[in-house]
């Protein structure tokens, strides 16, 4: 006989207070700009402590969604709670409990790194007694101690991003929102930023909600990913599950004579998409089934086998690819336009 009492009561409690565990919850959240519906009837729940990703192409509504959750924008309809506070009625409480890194640069060029952080301290009411210490703490988390007293206009793009991360966590927010944290950064810097994000999420025990249109970013960093397109969530799960559910492996075939129906009916073929004259087949364990597959396709011009990515998941749900070239101009370009 085991004595399950304590465990059961913990389960029961956590079930009863499930609402508390959801640090972000939206119900039919909608934002319209005139005729454009940027976010459409979104229902979403984010658990405490997870890194949650919103993956979608440019214009999908990611920034609009984050802006509403951060109380910068008022929703057209629907409701949302952040840390249990209503984003419209209790916006002040929401603001105190969140940190944000905006899509576009938002540190002041003509202030030093330290001055930027000090200004944030004042604005967010960080207690006077811990201000200095907290600045040093966050600077060391993002490895900017040595450059802290230089003007930000001498920083590289990656350093600015790190400073913004440091500023975002300054007042010990329970949730950190990151809007395209590595937009326009080179691949190496991007990986550094990823390391900083997962590091600080762990060190500061934070829930992180980030948006991105880089699949690798969502894959590497996120516990769960919502794929968002035209303001709607088309799929939501952990990156692995998303990939396994539909992709597994991807076989790309160019074939003259088409008999798609036969291929679709094969039991190991989980999905078929046609694009630019190519067939994309989602297949579990492609190496095992390739031989058999080719007997059904007949003569082919070209075949490629690779393991599936979130891009394939996106393609599967929307019939389009998230292309990096669709992205807005890079970070630096936009810095220059100021």
């Amino acid at each position: 006989m085991r004595a399950p009492k304590i465990i059961d009561s913990i389960r029961f409690l956590s079930f009863t207070f499930i609402f508390d565990i959801m640090v972000i919850k939206t119900e039919g959240l909608t934002k319209k700009y005139g005729k454009i519906t940027a976010v459409e009837g979104l229902n979403l729940e984010v658990e405490e402590g997870e890194i949650f990703g919103l993956l979608g192409p440019n214009g999908a509504g990611k920034t609009t969604l984050i802006s509403m959750l951060c109380t910068i924008l008022k929703p057209t309809s629907g409701r949302a709670w952040v840390n249990g506070f209503d984003i419209v009625k209790e916006s002040g409480k929401v603001r105190k409990s969140i940190g944000i890194v905006f899509q576009q640069p938002s540190v002041d060029d003509l202030l030093t790194g330290r001055e930027n952080l000090a200004m944030h301290n004042l604005l967010f009411g960080v207690p006077r007694s811990i201000r200095k210490q907290r600045i040093d703490e966050v600077l060391s988390i993002v490895n900017l101690e040595k450059r802290a007293d230089d003007l930000v206009n001498t920083y590289s793009g990656g350093m600015r991003r790190r400073l913004e991360l440091a500023r975002g966590i300054m007042h010990h927010p329970k949730i950190l929102f990151l809007d395209e944290p590595t937009l326009g950064l080179d691949p190496q810097t991007r990986e550094h930023i990823w390391a900083y994000i997962s590091d600080l999420a762990e060190k500061e025990c934070m829930t992180v909600m980030l948006t991105t249109h880089y699949m690798e970013e969502a894959e590497q960093l996120c516990d769960r990913v919502a794929i968002i397109d035209y303001g709607k969530i088309v799929a939501l799960d952990s990156p692995e599950t998303l990939k396994n559910k539909i992709a597994g492996d991807v076989v790309k075939i160019k074939q003259k004579v088409r008999d798609i129906e036969t291929i679709k009916n094969l039991d190991y073929v989980k999905g078929v998409q046609e694009k630019d004259g190519l067939l994309y087949l989602s297949i579990k364990d492609a190496s095992k089934h390739l031989q058999d597959l080719l007997t059904h396709t007949g003569p082919i011009d070209f075949v490629e086998v690779r393991s599936g990515t979130l891009n394939d998941v996106f393609l599967y749900y929307t019939g389009r690819e998230i292309r990096e070239s669709e992205a807005e101009g890079g970070f630096w370009e936009r810095m220059m336009k100021r």
Partner: protein, 252 residues
């Protein structure tokens, strides 16, 4: 109480940022010193040589209070354009998302702009001492506060315009329609006493007229209206402008 204190800190944070940036942007500092010099010496002395003395003062001295007001007016109004630049990227969002009321953010910006304009104002008051404007310490103090009041009102107007527009080009256009009429119909360049009646009407509805009149009264002792009357109207105008500013910031 702690809430009140955090609002004060918010105002201080926004002001401090503005002040630091003003000091570090050398172009702004230099241009705010040079343009009033040109008005006083090139315009005042040049036109003055062709114009008779007014109320016993040379033209250069007569327009000195008006030039001081003008400099503060231009700098203050144009300050509103920075908010448009800030908004083009996400600079302003960082402040707007802080748990500080919009009234405090606005107040910080107004103080920032007024600091900017008053650096120029103080510089002009010092020049006044050297070109023979009769100024006692009391006059200096009164003139300083009058300029500050004008500056606060005009920065507020500039910020209202900036908060409601999206492009710097649009801002320049609107501000020119506000600034030049305000300046020309203020009596800064001529006495308000014996004007054609249409012009007199325009000067009476222009709030800046009362600012110029107050400054001329304080510095040269030439008043068209009683000084308390001038000061009260300027104060009322500043309050209205600030109210409009807070409303505009809430909608941002």
């Amino acid at each position: 109480m702690s809430n009140f204190f955090s609002e004060i800190e918010g105002i201080y944070a926004v002001w401090l940022r503005e002040a630091k940036i003003y000091v570090r942007e050398k172009e702004r500092l230099i241009s705010s010193v040079i343009s009033p010099l040109l008005w006083i010496f090139a315009f005042g002395a040049g036109v003055g040589s062709a114009v008779n003395d007014i109320s016993g003062y040379s033209y250069q001295i007569f327009i000195y209070p008006g030039i001081a007001v003008m400099s503060v007016l231009f700098t203050s109004l144009f300050y509103g354009v920075y908010i448009i630049w800030d908004r083009k990227l996400d600079f302003l969002k960082e402040v707007l998302v802080a748990p500080v009321s919009r009234a405090s953010v606005f107040a910080g910006k107004v103080l920032g702009g007024a600091t900017d304009a008053m650096v120029q104002g103080i510089f002009l008051l010092i020049i006044g001492l050297f070109i023979g404007v009769p100024m006692t310490p009391l006059v200096l103090i009164q003139a300083f506060f009058m300029l500050l009041l004008i500056s606060i009102a005009m920065v507020s107007i500039g910020l209202v315009i900036g908060a409601n527009l999206n492009s710097p080009e649009g801002f320049s256009l609107v501000i020119n329609f506000v600034m030049w009429p305000m300046f020309f119909f203020s009596g800064a360049l001529f006495p308000v006493g014996n004007l054609p009646s249409w012009l007199e009407g325009a000067t009476y509805v222009n709030p800046l007229t009362y600012g110029v009149d107050a400054m001329r009264g304080i510095i040269l002792g030439i008043n068209h209206f009683p000084i308390y009357y001038d000061a009260a109207i300027m104060l009322l105008f500043a309050l209205l402008a600030m109210g409009a500013g807070v409303l505009s910031f809430r909608r941002m």
